[in-house]
Homo-oligomer: 493 residues x 2
């Protein structure tokens, strides 16, 4: 008999039902809700979040988890129990007063930041960020006490279970070593190429029709999801009803389409999570890095590959009534140029933005960097990584992202972890199925998705992160696959 | 001190936060959700409903309500406590097993009905309806024991607090007596008029633009609400974010527009509920009949009045690129014709459909009518009220509505109560502000809405139903105002 396990399973199913409404509330707020609804929504969301937190910190859970561990469980059930334990531990890590204090400070910081950033107002922003950082350090200390990890590692672990900063140092080292020179070489090579810009305007209805056709091509199930518009693209909803968004500009269409392809990667992961574990902790996506690996596999490995651009060029031309060549689209998709802003960065320079933030977070957490010294640190890192001086430009420097205003440290590495996982997954897939370019040209995309479904999507959180990647690729995460991918695509090496 | 009252108030605010998601889930399901999301949604909605039910039946509530009654409360607080007591009593009225059995039987009956109705399959439908009716009788017996009311009156009281079937008999008597002859006279009068049909097609985008412009004219606040499409028009959402829907046909536009005007009446009531009592039982709409009075005031008293049709004719023509005259629109808006289907009925014949259902419900509840005898009863009532024989036509007879399949008896009278309240409110408003036709022609709609806001919307559930109508109109509900309105509009009397 496994009575305690069954009671826990039922409890977590109920939690997932409340989380269903939390996901719906978030999606609706970003896509549908009129401004006047925000006060009522935020009150309701706060009550819901409190209720879910209460369910995850119920005092009987610890005893039930211990008792369930002595019951006769299948391997799946054991994995689920492990993830339940992790969820309960995470929920219990912080005292309520700290959660409330951090929520309040983050809200104040983010709200003021929206104006301060526009005015490059570092002096106004600094004390707010200092207040948030002080609470983040407190959070990390509490989590460190609960987990035995180092303070910064506990923050990483929230998003990428199992990763440590020592391991990230190792994985990131080759990128840090090779990227600056690689970028210079790519820039030199691209300097000789010249093509005219793509002439717009591009009607939004046509862009949306292209997006839907690409989603279909990428196997998105519209019976189990939607495409809408929001000011920041995201993939939300619940596994049986996955809702992704993009944003359109009439002047430029690649951004919206790459956004759709990116979010479709997230969406297929969610749609492909194991049905038998739906609502259970082990049935959820493994980590932020793995999630990002799916979106970046779709966007970068697949979406920006020459064969895929060949395939979608007629679709784009048909809806836009244009006659762009695949070479033109490829040209504009693949420009590499160091810039100030992370979210605007290309595939090659993007990791530099993450390496900088990772170093800053480590130093902010261990106290070797103060908030006051952050702008100088930023400028010196940007200089050495991308050859850009950011002195005095706070708005496009350390004030550009929302993450730190919210006290979310430890999240940034996920972006580059995702790019590295994606490149490594592609290499493993190609070992088994043959070159991705060939699979695309031979209309064998279903095999590509089948491989991802088998090795990643259907695995949910059954395995640990490292175990998942080992099982899928035969080895632990390595930064070399991303470097090889970039050299092959941008230098023909 | 009023500690118990404050604890109750806080508890009901929390309940309203969960009800926020229940409203959002309903709206989303009808307008946005892909089919594949329905299983996950219905599981989540069931958990949420159970949680809300649990909060309303918490064992400490009765003691707190008793204790609060001894505290020093304002008149508003006393009204709120009275409504809390009513909500708790309603939630506790039925044993959980009965609620579950009824939900199950209703689900089975409704699901099968969707097909059975298409095939006029009375024999298949009958046993399912009998099962539902048996449980409705059980429900009524439980409610009667808890309230001291008669079984059918307890069902009426769910939707129209304070009403009884004896009182409805009195109010409906003049309608039953006068309507059949009135309909004949209107039909005779209209027989001499002839106009060609309005030539379509009418593009849906243009109809939607008209709808939005009419909503604005009717004072709908788009900062606090939305207009969308669903297969059955409704008004949902929450007071700060009221979401109404309509449905469009390219062949005919009056249906969609009258639907928008109707739902805007519901919406303005919701948007105008007392802000100070938001989330509290006394801050909610008073009853289904009062709610329907607002939608019917907007649709029938206002929307179908000659001055209003004059005002909106240019708007309609501008969007549709037509040159209809107000007389043409009025002609097509005001045809009176007895028909089989309640939801298609005009203002004059509609009450007959309700009188029939009210008689049937009374008889089904007191046992004098069996489900088996329902079709004969239906046909004989349709004959005497509308001169229509429905023998053998179950699909367009007693199988036409969803209400009974769901076990919702007691709801139907609300529709005609609403029409009667609306006519009576108009008469009282005209005593103070002058003829509605003049107010419309003089662009004084804001005064009309101001009057409704003062007397109905801002009152929420502070007063009882009868008290509310007495305060607004100087007397209790009377059926005479509706009859006078119909005679004036359709016979010029």
């Amino acid at each position: 008999m496994s009575n305690h396990y069954l009671a826990l399973k039922q409890h977590f199913t109920q939690i997932s039902h409340f989380e269903h409404f939390s996901a719906l509330g978030d999606w609706d707020q970003a896509t549908m809700m009129p401004m006047g609804g925000s006060e009522g929504r935020s009150d309701a969301m706060a009550t819901l979040a409190g209720h879910i937190h209460g369910m995850k910190t119920a005092s009987w859970l610890a005893d039930f988890i211990d008792a369930a561990a002595t019951e006769s469980l299948t391997a799946l059930e054991q994995a689920n129990l492990r993830e339940m334990k992790r969820a309960v531990m995470q929920a219990n890590a912080l005292p309520t007063e700290l959660v409330e204090a951090k929520t309040k400070a983050a809200y104040r910081c983010e709200n003021a930041w929206r104006e301060q950033r526009k005015h490059n107002d570092w002096q106004g922003f600094k004390p707010n960020l200092e207040a948030v950082m002080a609470l983040v350090r407190e959070e990390a200390a509490h989590r460190a006490a609960a987990t035995g990890l180092s303070p910064y590692d506990t923050l990483l672990d929230k998003f990428e279970p199992g990763i440590t900063s020592a391991r990230l140092d190792d994985i990131f080292r080759p990128l840090r070593g090779e990227l600056p020179d690689l970028i210079r070489r790519v820039r030199d090579r691209q300097a000789s190429e010249q093509m005219a810009p793509l002439e717009g305007p591009f009607p939004i209805a046509a862009q949306e029709a292209i997006g839907r056709e690409l989603m279909q091509l990428l196997g998105f199930d519209f019976n189990q999801g939607r495409l809408d518009v929001s000011s920041h693209p995201f993939c939300g909803g619940v596994p049986g009803d996955v809702r992704l968004t993009t944003r359109y500009s009439e002047q430029e269409f690649a951004g919206a389409l790459l956004g759709v392809i990116h979010e479709t990667g997230h969406a297929r992961y969610e749609q492909g999570l194991p049905l038998a574990l739906r609502g259970q902790p082990a049935g959820a996506a493994r980590s932020m890095g793995i999630h990002e690996s799916q979106s970046l596999f779709f966007e970068m490995q697949l979406g920006e590959s020459p064969a895929f651009i060949d395939k979608i060029t007629p679709i784009i031309n048909r809806h836009l009534h244009k006659s762009f060549s695949a070479a033109e689209l490829t040209y504009h998709y693949s420009r590499v140029k160091p810039g100030l802003i992370r979210v605007d960065a290309d595939e090659v320079t993007y990791p530099c933005h993450i390496l900088l933030r990772f170093e800053a977070e480590k130093a902010l957490l261990d106290g070797s960097l103060s908030v006051a010294d952050l702008p100088d640190f930023w400028s010196s890192q940007m200089s050495s990584l991308l050859g850009i001086n950011t002195d005095g430009d706070y708005r496009n420097g350390c004030m550009q992202d929302i993450h730190w205003t919210l006290g979310e440290l430890g999240y940034f590495p996920s972006y580059t972890l995702g790019a590295m996982y994606a490149a490594q997954l592609r290499a493993a897939m190609e070992q088994q199925l043959g070159p991705l370019e060939e699979l695309i040209r031979q209309n064998r995309l279903a095999e590509v998705f089948g491989w991802l479904e088998t090795h990643i999507w259907s695995q949910g959180s059954i395995k640990g992160t490292d175990q998942l990647i080992q099982a899928a690729t035969g080895e632990s995460l390595s930064g070399q696959y991303l470097l090889s991918h970039l050299k092959r695509r941008y230098l023909g090496e």
